[in-house]
């Protein structure tokens, strides 16, 4: 494997990691606030559909982005309603929303565009254009770092950079602001937050909606950045890989970045090579694809350090027994 190939694989990894990263950070907000969300997948999917649909009909990717985020927010709000207001089971709600997304996107796509479960291909202003980072050309001559910067890091669409910047932003919000303190507290002990005079309900809704927003970005990137239009079930399990990355990252933003890059890298490699030769053994493609899932199980089993979720995670806050 020569250097150029490595640069290309890294370039591809960043692209493929972006939806995972955005969704992973989305899950991070929600779960840090004590609301488990296995519905990342569904939110991404509706966002992907609506962003592509609106971008296709209006010709503006920005309107598409807005629509995608809005759709994802609606789903987030339903999750909030079920798990915060009505204290339902968060896992069941997530499962339901994933199905709802899978079904409605097809239904609406078919009704709207009559092109099977897909939107028309997006072109021109209906898609995000790549952005060249400053000095990309000038620096590309520098050995090693030059190509890495110019080819792997530069030349992605805006949402990739939003995703990358969201990592320090998330860290800052969670660990350096009042909102973050309360958010983390509500995921650990909502009773403490409540008796401190802060509304648990409002905090959890805020977290769930931020989760919706980020999932919206993830979905929009999928349909308008990575691909050029919506196709049925285009998230293809990315929501679950994001969840896996979240566990891998132990609910921390910087770790999340590395976890998502790793999973993006695995995907990039599996895209490029149908089997991977590891000196003695040859790993078939099916297993390269399943690797993130296998890794998650291994991590959950505690072989690679324990991952303790937020203490109040998954439990609705009930004041009165």
């Amino acid at each position: 494997m020569d250097f150029l190939t490595i640069v290309q694989i890294l370039d591809s990894s960043i692209r493929l990691a972006t939806p995972l990263l955005l969704a992973c950070l989305a899950g991070l907000f929600s779960e840090r606030a004590g609301v488990f969300d296995i519905g990342l997948e569904g939110k991404m999917l509706v966002a992907a559909f609506f962003s592509a649909a609106i971008a296709a009909t209006t010709g503006s990717v920005w309107l598409g982005l807005l629509a995608g985020v809005a759709a994802s927010l609606v789903f987030a709000a339903i999750h909030g309603l079920a798990s915060i207001t009505f204290r339902g089971d968060q896992l069941i709600s997530g499962v339901a929303l994933n199905f709802l997304a899978a079904g409605t996107t097809v239904l609406i796509a078919q009704d709207w565009f009559a092109q099977g479960a897909r939107t028309p291909a997006l072109t021109g202003a209906a898609r995000f254009a790549p952005i060249d980072l400053p000095f990309a050309d000038a620096l590309s001559g520098i050995p090693l770092l030059g190509p890495l910067y110019a080819q792997a890091l530069s030349g992605h669409t805006i949402l990739v950079y939003v995703g990358l910047l969201a990592v320090p932003a998330t860290w800052y919000v969670l660990f350096r602001t009042r909102f973050g303190l309360r958010l983390r507290a509500v995921g650990e002990n909502p009773g403490a937050v409540d008796t401190a005079g802060v509304s648990v309900i409002r905090l959890r809704y805020a977290a769930v909606l931020i989760c919706g927003l980020l999932c919206g970005l993830a979905g929009a990137y999928l349909a308008t950045g990575l691909a050029a239009g919506f196709t049925q079930d285009m998230t293809a399990g990315r929501g679950f890989i994001a969840l896996a990355a979240l566990i891998f990252a132990k609910w921390r933003p910087w770790y999340a970045l590395w976890a998502c890059l790793l999973f993006g890298f695995l995907q990039a490699v599996s895209n490029r090579y149908s089997t991977i030769d590891l000196w003695i053994v040859e790993i078939p493609n099916a297993f390269v694809i399943a690797l993130p899932y296998i890794l998650t199980v291994v991590i959950l089993a505690g072989f690679v350090g324990r991952a303790t979720p937020p203490r109040a995670g998954g439990v609705p806050y009930v004041k009165e027994r």
Partner: protein
């Protein structure tokens, strides 16, 4: 009333299924009659769908794609009074018409064009599901390219090993990016819905691309070199017509260059990219293939490719 079962990937895959759908529509518009149509959602529903069509009295029933073979083999005998047609595969039953195409020949021609258009000396191929049928495309393509330029490099990638490989535009795009990284400047996508992503990325990255099955030239005028059309539409149209006229024949039907079953799409969208040289070379080769002067190796005949 004839029936058409659209395969996985959907009738708007801009490729294989869409071509069949267009054939049926053409028949419907010309005759003013309606036909039964349904779209498969999953592998395991093939049987129910075929049977439902048969129970409803559709005749003939056209099914698309090799994946239907084993189901049809089982279903056809239960409905001896119904005629079936299957595209891309041979099913030996008394009431089944098997329509197969000489994809290797068409691919040979687009391979030639690719080699002539390439400036880097590297061209590439993105296949859908890794099955002999798709290797047949790849092999024909490589033979054509080598015929023009024996030193040319032909990169070949398959999207996957399962039917999901027909519908993964994101992966298609990633594959072609990798190929571009390896120097390819013309890509041939024989990958159903996945091809949409391949052609899109080719257009984004500014390399030339070749579509498949349907004429896909209109998708990205300016970067679409041509399309290797496979006239599934004609096959469906003919089957419907024959049934109406009472001339539906069972058995194997081979559609090749000679009867325009496969071919190269030339239209206003790729006029600028196709040079006169290409035009004449392709025309000449076509005649030579028809006459047997050039023999294009069919991968499926011995599951191997000489180049």
């Amino acid at each position: 009333e004839p029936g058409l079962i659209i395969d996985l990937g959907g009738k708007f895959d801009k490729s294989f299924n869409e071509s069949a759908y267009n054939g049926a529509m053409r028949w419907s518009e010309e005759t003013g009659e309606s036909y039964m149509e349904t779209e498969l959602q999953s592998e395991a529903q093939r049987e129910q769908t075929m049977r439902r069509m048969a129970e409803r009295g559709a005749n003939p029933i056209v099914v698309l794609g090799f994946a239907n073979a084993s189901t049809l083999e089982k279903v056809a005998p239960d409905y001896p009074d119904t005629d079936f047609a299957i595209v891309d595969m041979v099913v030996e039953q008394p009431n089944v018409q098997s329509i197969v195409f000489s994809e290797h020949e068409g691919s040979y021609l687009v391979g030639m064009m690719a080699a002539m258009a390439s400036e880097t000396g590297t061209v590439s191929f993105v296949g859908g599901m890794d099955v002999p049928l798709i290797r047949k495309f790849a092999c024909g393509y490589a033979q054509g390219a080598k015929a023009v330029n024996p030193d040319i490099t032909v990169i070949e990638n398959m999207t996957g090993t399962t039917p999901a490989a027909w519908n993964d535009p994101v992966k298609g795009g990633e594959l072609v990016r990798a190929q571009i990284g390896q120097g390819s400047d013309v890509v041939f996508a024989a990958a159903g819905g996945t091809g949409v992503g391949v052609l899109q990325t080719a257009a984004d990255e500014g390399i030339e691309a070749i579509g498949v099955d349907s004429n896909q030239n209109y998708l990205h005028p300016g970067t679409m070199l041509t399309s290797m059309v496979k006239r599934v539409d004609n096959a469906v149209y003919d089957a419907f017509n024959a049934a109406e006229a009472g001339t539906f024949e069972t058995g194997i039907q081979v559609k090749d260059l000679e009867d325009d079953g496969v071919g190269v799409a030339l239209d206003e969208y790729n006029e600028e990219l196709v040079t006169d040289d290409m035009r004449s070379a392709v025309e000449e080769a076509k005649q030579q293939i028809i006459s047997g002067e050039i023999e294009v190796h069919d991968y499926t005949s011995d599951d191997s490719c000489p180049v």
